[in-house]
C-alpha cells in the first residue's frame, strides 16, 4: 500500500477529537493530505470538527468515506483495539504513533495486519510522507523536502536532523517512512527495500538505524540478495550505548553481542551499504554519490 500512496489517498484520523488528533489533522490537511473523516474519543462528540466529519467508529467511517488509510492518534493502551478495529473495517494502511505499546500487544497487531493483508507502520513513529505532497503523521515540515532519496528511520528526531541537513545541502526525499523505535512493529527496513527499488523517483536510499534488534541485519541480507540495488547510505545510532538498558526507545537494547553497533555496521558494510559515523558525513556522502 505504501507504493501506491498519493495526495488523493483518503485518510482517516482515529481519535480525531482528542488534543493530538485535532492538532495533527489540521497540520496534515495543510500539508496536502486528503483527510476524509475521523473517529471520536468520546460518545458526545460533534458530527463534524473543523470541517471533518466525525464517525462513531472506524467501520462507519470507512463505509461512509471509502478511506483506505488511517492514523491512530490514541494512547498506547488503546492502540491494539484501535488497530484491530481498523483492519477489520478494511483499512489497508495504518499508522500508529503511540509510544509505549506493550510488546505482546504489538505482536497481536502485527498478526492482525498480516491476516488482513494490510500494512502497519508503527508503533512509536512520527509516520510517513511523500514530501511536498502529503504526510500521515507529524514529520516536521522543516525537515521535509521533495527529492530523489528514499529515507527510512527507527528514530523520529534523528531522521528530522538528517532530513533537515539534507535540505540545507539541497537534497530531498522521494518517500520517507518512520518505522518506529519499538522492538516489535509493523513495516520493517527489509520490507521497504523492494518498494524503494521499484520506485522510479528514488535514486538512493538512506537507512537511519540504531542499536538493538536485528532489523539492520535483516535489511543487509535483503540488500545482498538484491541485484542492481540502489546505493544505500546508513547511519546507526548508539555506538556508545550502555548495555542492558533501553536507550530511550524500547527497541534500543543490547545484551552481549545482540543488537550491537559493531554487528550492524559490519553486516551492512559487507552487503554494500555505506555506513557513516556522523550526520555530516552521511549528508556529504549523499551529495557526492
Amino acid at each position: 500500500m505504501i507504493a501506491s500512496l498519493s495526495a488523493r489517498t483518503p485518510v482517516l484520523v482515529l481519535g480525531l477529537t482528542g488534543r493530538m488528533g485535532r492538532a495533527h489533522a489540521a497540520h496534515m490537511r495543510r500539508y496536502g493530505t486528503n483527510i476524509v473523516g475521523g473517529t471520536a474519543i468520546r460518545a458526545d462528540a460533534p458530527a463534524e470538527q473543523d470541517g471533518i466529519p466525525v464517525f462513531a467508529d472506524v467501520a462507519a467511517a470507512v463505509a461512509a468515506t471509502g478511506a483506505q488509510a488511517a492514523i491512530a492518534m490514541v494512547p498506547p493502551a488503546g492502540t491494539r483495539a484501535a488497530a484491530e478495529a481498523a483492519f477489520a473495517a478494511g483499512i489497508r494502511l495504518l499508522v500508529t504513533i503511540a509510544e509505549g505499546v506493550p510488546v505482546h500487544d504489538s505482536i497481536a497487531i502485527g498478526r492482525a495486519a498480516r491476516a488482513a493483508g494490510a500494512t502497519w507502520v508503527g508503533p512509536s513513529t512520527p509516520g510517513l510522507a511523500l514530501p511536498g505532497r502529503m504526510k500521515i503523521g507529524f514529520l516536521p515540515d522543516v525537515a521535509l523536502c521533495p527529492g530523489d532519496v528514499a529515507l527510512m528511520s527507527k528514530s523520529g528526531t534523528l531522521s528530522y536532523e538528517v532530513g533537515y541537513r539534507m535540505a540545507q545541502r539541497g537534497l530531498g526525499q522521494s518517500l520517507w517512512v518512520g518505522v518506529g523505535g519499538d522492538p516489535v512493529k509493523g513495516v520493517r527496513f527489509a520490507e521497504l527495500l523492494p518498494v524503494f527499488q521499484a520506485d522510479p523517483a528514488t535514486r538512493a536510499i538512506v537507512l537511519v538505524g540504531e542499536v538493538g534488534g536485528v532489523e539492520e541485519e535483516e535489511f543487509a541480507a535483503a540488500l545482498a540478495a538484491t541485484p542492481d540495488a540502489k546505493p544505500v547510505f546508513a547511519i546507526i545510532a548508539g555506538r556508545e550505548a550502555k548495555e542492558g538498558v533501553s536507550m530511550g526507545h524500547a527497541g534500543a537494547l543490547t545484551w552481549g553481542e545482540f543488537g550491537t553497533h559493531a554487528a550492524k555496521q559490519a553486516r551492512l558494510t559487507t552487503a554494500g551499504a555505506r555506513c557513516c559515523a556522523t550526520v555530516e558525513a552521511l549528508v556529504e556522502a549523499l551529495a557526492a554519490g
Binding site: R111, R188, V211, E240, S246, M247, G248, L253, W255, E257
Partner: protein, 374 residues
C-alpha cells in the same frame, strides 16, 4: 530492559523453572557460604557474557569466595557498578544445555532455541538450531518437540517442563526474552544455572508486580527506576563525564553522544527529555539540570532540541525558568531547530545572554571544545 540474574531467576521460578539455592551478597564482610562447596560467585549486572568479562568466579573453598567477593563488589563490569553478587553451590557432573524463548519480531511469534552444548561458548557460537511458533503455549510446546527429538530420551521430560515454564513466563509476563544458559540436566531433572530475562517496561503501568520488581532494586537498575519514576529517559553513561546533555529524541540523543565521543569529548549522560510532555512546566528540566550539576567533573552543558511539534518559544521560556531555579553555574551551549526556533532563541538571549546559542551541531561541538579547554 535486561534483569540481573537473581531477578530473572526469581521471575522464572514463579513459572515453575527450578533454580539452585543461592544467596545474594551485598558486602563481603561477615559472609560465610553455606554447604560443602565448591561455589560459584557471580556479579549481578544486567549484561551478557559475564563469564568472559571476569564477572563469574569458580571457588573451591570459602577463602576463594571471600576473595572473589572482595574483587567483584564495588568494581564495575562492562560499564555497570557491581553492587551485589550471587553465591551458589557449584553443580558437578551435570550436562550443560542451552534453552531460550525469544520474541521474533519478523514472524510475530516466538523463536525457540535449544542445544545440548550450552555454557559459556554458546554465546559466541551464533547460529543455533531454532524453531518458530505462534505466541501460544501449546504451539510453543509443539514446535519445541521437533527440536527435542535430538535430545537424549532420559532428558526429554525435564526439557519439556522447562519449555513449558519459559513459555508461561514469556507469554504471561509479556517478556521479550527468557533464556537459561546453562540449564543443568542431571538425574534430578533440569535446573537453571543462569537466567537472562528481558522485561517490557511498557507493561509497568498495568503490571504493578513487574514494576515493583524493578523498583525494588534501584542500585541495579538506576536508569529504569528513573524512567518509571520520572516518565522520561536519562541514562548515566560515565559518572566522570565532562559534558552534560539536555537533549530530546532517542535516536538523535544517541548520535549526539556518539559524535561527542568521537570528537574526544566525554559525555556524562544520554537524555531523551520528550519535550512534547513538558506541558508548560519546567520541572523536568530542573530535574535534569540538577542531576548534571551533581556530577563534579561536568564542565559544559549542551542543550540540543530539534522540535517537530514542540513550540521552541515556550521551551526557551521553560529552560530560562529552569536555569533561574537551579542557579546552574556551568556554561551552556544551546542549539534549537524547528518549530518556533527564532522565538526560543530570542527568549534565551533576553533572559540568559551568557548562553551560547548556535545553529548547528558541528558548531556546538566546536564551542564545547573551546569552553572545556583549560
Amino acid at each position: 530492559m535486561l534483569l540481573v540474574e537473581a531477578d530473572g531467576k526469581a521471575l522464572l521460578a514463579r513459572h515453575g523453572i527450578r533454580v539452585l539455592p543461592a544467596t545474594l551478597v551485598r558486602q563481603e564482610e561477615g559472609f560465610r557460604p553455606e554447604g560443602p562447596g565448591p561455589w560459584v560467585v557471580k556479579a549481578q549486572v544486567p549484561v551478557g557474557g559475564r563469564g568472559k568479562a571476569g564477572g563469574i568466579a569458580f571457588c573451591r573453598d570459602a577463602a576463594a569466595v571471600t576473595e572473589a567477593l572482595q574483587r567483584l563488589l564495588g568494581g564495575t563490569l562492562r560499564g555497570h557498578p557491581v553492587t551485589a553478587c550471587l553465591v551458589e553451590q557449584a553443580v558437578a557432573g551435570a550436562e550443560e544445555h542451552y534453552l531460550s524463548l525469544l520474541v521474533d519480531p519478523a514472524s510475530y511469534g516466538v523463536r525457540i532455541a535449544w542445544t545440548r552444548a550450552g555454557g559459556i561458548e554458546v554465546e559466541e557460537a551464533g547460529e543455533l538450531a531454532t524453531r518458530l511458533a505462534p505466541p501460544e503455549e501449546g504451539a510453543i510446546q509443539a514446535a519445541a518437540e521437533e527440536l527435542l527429538a535430538e535430545a537424549p530420551p532420559r532428558d526429554r521430560a525435564a526439557l519439556r517442563d522447562a519449555v513449558a515454564g519459559l513459555a508461561r513466563a514469556l507469554l504471561r509476563d509479556g517478556l521479550l526474552l527468557a533464556e537459561v544458559n546453562p540449564l543443568f540436566l542431571g538425574p534430578d531433572g533440569a535446573v537453571a544455572g543462569d537466567a537472562k530475562v528481558v522485561l517490557d517496561l511498557n507493561l509497568a503501568e498495568t503490571r504493578t508486580d513487574l514494576r515493583d520488581l524493578v523498583l525494588a532494586r534501584p542500585e541495579a537498575y538506576p536508569d529504569a527506576v528513573r524512567k518509571l519514576e520520572e516518565g522520561f529517559d536519562y541514562v548515566e553513561l560515565d559518572p566522570e563525564g565532562e559534558l552534560g546533555l539536555v537533549t530530546t529524541g532517542a535516536g538523535l540523543s544517541m548520535v549526539v553522544v556518539d559524535e561527542m565521543q568521537a570528537a574526544g569529548l566525554k559525555p556524562l549522560n544520554f537524555c531523551d527529555l520528550r519535550t512534547g510532555q513538558l506541558r508548560g512546566d519546567p520541572a523536568r528540566l530542573v530535574r535534569v539540570l540538577g542531576w548534571i550539576a551533581e556530577r563534579r567533573r561536568v564542565r559544559v552543558v549542551l542543550v540540543n532540541i530539534f522540535a517537530g511539534i514542540t513550540d521552541l518559544g515556550e521551551f526557551g521560556r521553560l529552560l530560562s525558568d529552569a536555569l533561574d531555579r537551579t542557579g546552574l553555574r556551568l556554561p551552556v551551549v544551546a542549539r534549537l531547530v524547528g518549530n518556533g526556533a527564532a522565538a526560543g532563541r530570542a527568549e534565551l538571549e533576553r533572559r540568559h545572554p551568557e548562553i551560547a546559542v548556535v545553529d548547528s551541531l558541528p558548531e556546538a561541538l566546536a564551542r564545547i571544545a573551546a569552553l572545556r579547554a583549560p
